[in-house]
């Protein structure tokens, strides 16, 4: 191979292969290898021992079969409660997310507002749902209400950030045009921003609802309502066939909601 162009006869040198880039790539791969080795040793993970654990696993699954259908009524009731917690928690989260999202959007507020708001949202994202649920149960007692509140607060950290990102993705041109027509800040947000990003907001909200439905299962473990409460109750009392029924019911619900949500999200444009 020569690098002489047939058309012009000029010789053009190919771009240089920098040593720095090669070294950086090698360093990156080495760091990744070290991290995996560290985790492997630390957890005592041994492939040879996995084979031996297959039998106890099969035995556990065997105790779940066949599902005890007498638990269907409990399953239906508590699944409904889980759905209610997810719906209401998501709804509250949407309401509570909009104001901080507007403040966190770089195209709507100056840096001294949107930067700190984004830090606070990151902090909120860092609080585990289980911790929030424990706090609300301690304050309000057992039942679905602390579950709803825990879910709402937990969702704000992510939802407000996603909303803010959506606001920022709005094209600046139309907003500038409305500004030029004399629109005030609220009018620019309503017509310039929200009109442009409405499908994104709907998609983010549906996605958060899916997450909330799945995450709300753990709320039952700390007495904050829903099907999770009965799952852990039956596990502790070794009623594995009932656990199987509840697990199957919640599995069906989660899959149905996800399919519905995906179908709706695909239609938004």
């Amino acid at each position: 191979m020569n690098t002489e162009s047939r058309a012009t006869g000029h010789t053009v040198a190919p771009p240089e292969q920098s040593l720095g880039a090669t070294l950086r790539r090698a360093a990156g791969m080495a760091a990744l290898a070290v991290a995996i080795a560290w985790a492997w040793r630390g957890t005592g993970f041994e492939i040879s021992r996995l084979g031996g654990s297959l039998a106890p696993l099969a035995e556990f699954l065997g105790r779940m079969a066949p599902p005890d259908l007498s638990a269907l009524e409990v399953a239906a009731k508590s699944t409904a409660e889980t759905l209610q917690i997810a719906v209401l928690g998501t709804f509250l989260a949407v309401i509570l997310s909009i104001p901080p999202a507007l403040l966190a959007a770089a195209n709507l507020t100056p840096a001294w507002i949107h930067q700190p708001v984004r830090w606070v949202l990151a902090l909120v994202r860092g609080i585990p749902l289980l911790l929030l649920a424990l706090m609300f149960v301690a304050a309000l007692g057992l039942g679905p209400v602390p579950g709803v509140l825990a879910l709402a607060v937990h969702s704000i950290g992510m939802l407000a950030k996603f909303y803010a990102d959506a606001f920022e993705s709005a094209r600046q041109g139309p907003i500038e045009a409305l500004d030029s027509a004399g629109a005030n800040w609220f009018q620019r947000v309503r017509y310039g921003v929200l009109t442009q990003v409405a499908p994104d907001l709907a998609r983010d909200t549906l996605f958060r609802f899916e997450l909330n439905l799945r995450e709300s299962l753990v709320l039952g473990l700390v007495g904050a309502g829903g099907i999770g409460f009965y799952i852990q109750l039956y596990i502790r009392s070794f009623q594995y066939q009932r656990v199987a029924t509840l697990t199957l019911v919640i599995l069906v619900i989660v899959v149905l909601v996800e399919q519905g949500s995906v179908a709706i999200r695909r239609r938004l444009r």
């Binding site: 045009a177 004399g182 609220f186 009109t195």
Partner: protein, 263 residues
């Protein structure tokens, strides 16, 4: 003679520490004039128009728009232009800047936002008079058949017609148009420029428009201002804009299709 609609004095605009993009000793536009600004790329046409609309602020000098004066200086930050003045200056954009997911009617109606106050307009309720005005504007730009269509289903030329109708509904005194046709083909470009000039004359607006085609300026403007490297190098009636004048504005760079444009 009445006060000028637009007046620049000793005005300089600079982005960062580079050489000024606009350096105009004096420029005035009288009420009712149709002025076209031409010049090579980077001559400062867009900066001039965005300055006049308050999107860009100067480094020094004086800007007077519709009787309100701003003095730029080292100690003066860019003061946000007040709503009542923004309402009186309409702007037609190179990229149309319409809200693509919204209908033609909504986009045009939103030109009236500068007059709306209170919750009604935020809930989507507009005065009947403004809704009728929007329909008249849509008729004026010949888009009645597309009234309820989403703007992203329209062609570029039609989207710019929406932009023009939006400015009609705004009812401004001064209309600024920044390269409104540079993304359209020459025949369509001539149509839109003719529409804009017609709108300005029918509604008694002053129009300042930058164009990349000198032939269009010669055909439709009262007066042509030639910019080069940020300074006004030519200013005269469109009749006196001959090939020598065009050559002096564009320098060695030949202007795009001086020959003939449009039907």
């Amino acid at each position: 003679m009445s006060d000028p609609v637009l007046r620049l004095r000793d005005l300089r605009v600079r982005y960062g520490s580079k050489s000024p993009v606009l350096d105009v000793a004096a420029l005035e536009v009288a009420a009712g004039e149709v002025v076209c600004v031409i010049g090579p790329s980077g001559a400062g046409k867009t900066t001039l128009l965005r300055l006049a609309n308050g999107f860009v602020s100067g480094e020094r000098g004086q800007l007077e728009v519709l009787g309100s004066t701003v003095q730029f200086g080292p100690d003066r930050g860019p003061a946000r232009r007040d709503r009542s003045l923004r309402r009186r200056v309409g702007f037609v954009f190179q990229g149309f800047n319409v809200v693509e997911r919204a209908s033609v009617f909504s986009n045009v109606l939103w030109g009236s936002l500068g007059r709306q106050r209170g919750l009604g307009a935020l809930l989507g309720r507009f005065p009947e008079s403004d809704r009728r005005l929007a329909m008249e504007a849509i008729a004026e730009v010949d888009l009645l058949e597309q009234t309820t269509q989403r703007v992203d289903t329209l062609s570029g030329g039609q989207q710019q017609r929406v932009g023009v109708a939006r400015v009609i509904v705004q009812q401004p005194d001064l209309v600024l148009a920044d390269e409104p046709v540079s993304s359209l083909d020459p025949v369509l470009a001539a149509e839109i420029v003719e529409l804009l000039v017609g709108v300005a004359r029918r509604h008694g607006n002053t129009l300042v428009m930058s164009l990349h085609l000198p032939a269009l300026a010669r055909r439709f403007a009262d007066r042509v201002v030639g910019l080069r490297a940020g300074s006004v190098v030519w200013d005269g009636t469109s009749q006196s804009l001959d090939d020598r004048a065009i050559a002096s504005i564009y320098g060695s760079e030949p202007p795009p299709s001086v020959a003939e444009v449009g039907p």
